[in-house]
């Protein structure tokens, strides 16, 4: 229920951005149709676009039509031919005349591989560093790794990415060009995007984990666990880390969901043809159906990732299961 609500809100806001904001700025429906159509549209295309988005109708009606076509599919007239668009119909791209849904499915493998590879790296690195730093608080390891972590959160991917392209790939030629288009390609050509993206997030997660662990390890139940003679390893992993993981999972659900819907900056930095790049091209070319579709997909992934995290809560934290 909450999930569907979130999807509706996000799509409505996206819709508002594209239709209400220009309207408020005094753009007419003809201008809007012309903008969506590209440089030199003919009258038939303009009519088709106005009809497709019901541009002369009030915005809520337009929005209703859009949602209906996602749920039930749609057929519409492009001015040349009649096209059948089965559910989930996100419309047709004005530039390529491809269904948006198919375009997103085509691009998805690239984005998925970037997000999954990076997430594995940053979770492993971030949580390990965070735990070690918390346990050895104030030690050299703690200070050095927290220093690096602070530097890490201050380094944007478009800087580390371009830097590694300029030196690791181009100058020193340690790694081949970053080139990945689909599941048939070697995923390890994504090593650099993974490392650059993971570095940023690992720094963030190390800081989060450290703060969480410092707090949990001072709890009474940790003392109890130690007092009953459990090995320190068990106390740290089963009692300490387990409680710390819950808030980290919440953050992870959001971060990972957003990335699955398009690692825009990483894709742009390394010129990778993922969903983010698709959305970005859609924005550069005012290809509204593409942008709307991509935004809906991001929202869907955020919602799904949150749902999965909610289910995992029960596994990690037994208190959630009982209530």
């Amino acid at each position: 229920m909450g999930a569907v609500g979130l999807l509706l809100i996000i799509s409505a806001v996206t819709f508002g951005i594209f239709f209400l904001v220009p309207k408020a700025a005094g753009v007419t429906s003809d201008d809007l149709a012309a903008r969506f159509a590209g440089k030199t549209p003919d009258a038939a295309t303009l009519e088709a676009i106005k009809d497709r988005f019901a541009l002369d109708e009030p915005v809520p009606v337009q929005y209703g039509k859009y949602i209906k076509s996602i749920v039930a599919g749609d057929t519409y007239d492009t001015g040349v031919e009649t096209i059948d668009c089965p559910a989930p119909c996100l419309g047709y791209s004005f530039r390529t005349n491809q269904p948006v849904f198919d375009e997103i499915v085509d691009r998805a493998p690239v984005t998925f591989m970037i997000a999954i590879g990076a997430a594995v790296l940053w979770l492993l690195a971030g949580i390990t560093i965070g735990v070690v730093s918390a346990l050895r608080r104030g030690s050299v390891i703690d200070r050095v790794s927290m220093g690096i972590a602070l530097a890490g959160v201050s380094l944007p991917v478009f800087f580390t990415g371009l830097l590694s392209l300029a030196f690791v790939v181009h100058r020193w030629q340690l790694l081949p060009e970053v080139n990945y288009r689909g599941f048939s390609d070697n995923p390890f050509s994504l090593l650099l995007p993974w490392i650059c993206l993971a570095f940023l997030y690992a720094a963030l997660y190390a800081r989060l984990t450290r703060a969480g662990m410092l707090e949990t390890m001072n709890e009474d139940y940790i003392r109890t666990a130690r007092a009953k003679g459990l090995p320190e390893r068990t106390v740290v992993v089963k009692h300490g880390l387990r409680a710390t993981l819950t808030p980290i999972m919440t953050v992870f659900g959001l971060d990972f969901g957003l990335l699955l819907g398009g690692a825009i900056i990483t894709e742009r930095t390394f010129s990778l043809p993922g969903i983010g790049q698709l959305a970005l091209d859609g924005i550069y070319q005012s290809d509204l159906p593409v942008v709307l579709g991509a935004t809906m997909v991001v929202a869907l992934f955020v919602v799904l990732a949150n749902l999965i995290v909610d289910i995992l809560y029960g596994v990690v934290d037994p208190r959630v299961r009982h209530s």
């Binding site: 594209f18 700025a25 530097a151 830097l163 703060a211 010129s271 924005i283 550069y284």
Partner: protein
């Protein structure tokens, strides 16, 4: 409850003196929380050096000062220096991207514009947007957070749910679509002035929940404290309690999180300019320079390093200062 011990006459005055015999009275003057925090902050060398760096950066990016400095070194940020670049390959002539006394950060490939003055002018944009957007977030976040935390009930549910929705938004995508649909002239502004206003509004508007959450949490615990009960029993209205009793107690966390939000917003602005929806060329911005560098990093690697380091050092300085400020105001989190 026991009655207060009554100490009368000479005994009352004599006692402290007896205890403090030989101690300089000035040394034990009561200190306000602000003074204590300031003393702690002064001892934090990293935080102080970051603050000094930031103050210098702010001074050099003031309108009159930037022109004065670039008049001495570097020259105009938009002046082409064709003799300084290789005519065929487009790369700067000379070592390290053409770094020299006249051009301490080297020159841009292709057209030879001076990087030092472009970085300085870019600093103004970054700082302006970072700080103003943070102000927008702080105002929205504080007002909504304090209202949610204080009134509770459905008001709280509504505001808290709104914050959750905001945090789940695909921000970058939204921001770029918004910048894309707003016409070139709007509300009496145009060009990069309009762009800056839009960026401030968008970045500030989307980041308020970070401040809002913290303010809400703190307000919820402050609401139960005795001084609020006392104020209420003396007949204070909610508005008075909110802004005269509770808000002053929130200054410290708001200050800390605002300081830590500025670097996030600077990174956000750089990211948007990198994606081509921030500041329009030819006006310099750090993200915009990196965007140009995506095609030129093989000819001129310094074109990546210089603006990237500018972003890194500035953001790091804000983060270090923010961390130091937090440690000074609330040592428990150290």
């Amino acid at each position: 409850m026991t009655a207060p011990i009554e100490v009368t006459g000479s005994e009352a005055e004599a006692q402290p003196d007896a205890v403090l015999k030989g101690v300089d009275r000035k040394a034990i003057q009561g200190r306000s929380l602000g003074q204590i925090a300031w003393m702690r902050l002064k001892r934090d060398k990293i935080a102080i050096s970051s603050a000094v760096f930031l103050v210098v950066l702010i001074i050099v990016s003031l309108p009159g000062v930037t022109g004065l400095i670039t008049g001495l070194v570097g020259g105009s940020p938009n002046k082409f220096n064709m003799p300084l670049v290789d005519a065929t390959l487009g790369g700067p002539i000379g070592k390290l991207g053409g770094m020299s006394l006249d051009h301490p950060f080297g020159v841009e490939p292709i057209n030879g514009r001076d990087l030092f003055s472009r970085i300085l002018y870019g600093a103004r944009v970054s700082l302006l947007i970072g700080v103003l957007a943070t102000l927008v977030s702080v105002v929205i976040g504080t007002v909504l957070g304090i209202v949610a935390g204080f009134f509770g009930g459905w008001v709280d549910t509504l505001i808290a749910r709104t914050m959750d929705v905001f945090l789940a938004f695909p921000l970058v995508l939204f921001a770029i679509s918004l910048v894309g649909v707003i016409p070139s002239g709007f509300a009496g502004l145009e060009g990069n002035g309009l762009r800056i206003a839009i960026l401030v509004f968008i970045i500030g508007f989307f980041n308020w929940p970070y401040i809002g959450r913290i303010v809400r949490g703190q307000t919820m615990s402050l609401r139960e404290r005795e001084f609020v009960d006392a104020s209420r029993s003396m007949g204070a209205k909610p508005g008075y309690i909110l802004f005269r009793e509770i808000l002053p107690n929130l200054y410290a966390p708001i200050l800390v999180y605002a300081t830590l939000l500025i670097p996030t917003n600077i990174l956000f602005e750089a990211a948007l300019s990198f994606l081509g929806v921030g500041i329009n060329p030819p006006d310099p911005s750090w993200g915009g320079m990196l965007s140009q560098a995506t095609e030129l990093y093989s000819v001129a690697p310094h074109f990546v390093i210089v603006p990237g380091l500018a972003i890194f050092v500035t953001v790091l300085a804000f983060n270090l200062f923010g961390d130091g400020l937090r440690d000074a105001l609330d040592p428990r989190t150290r």
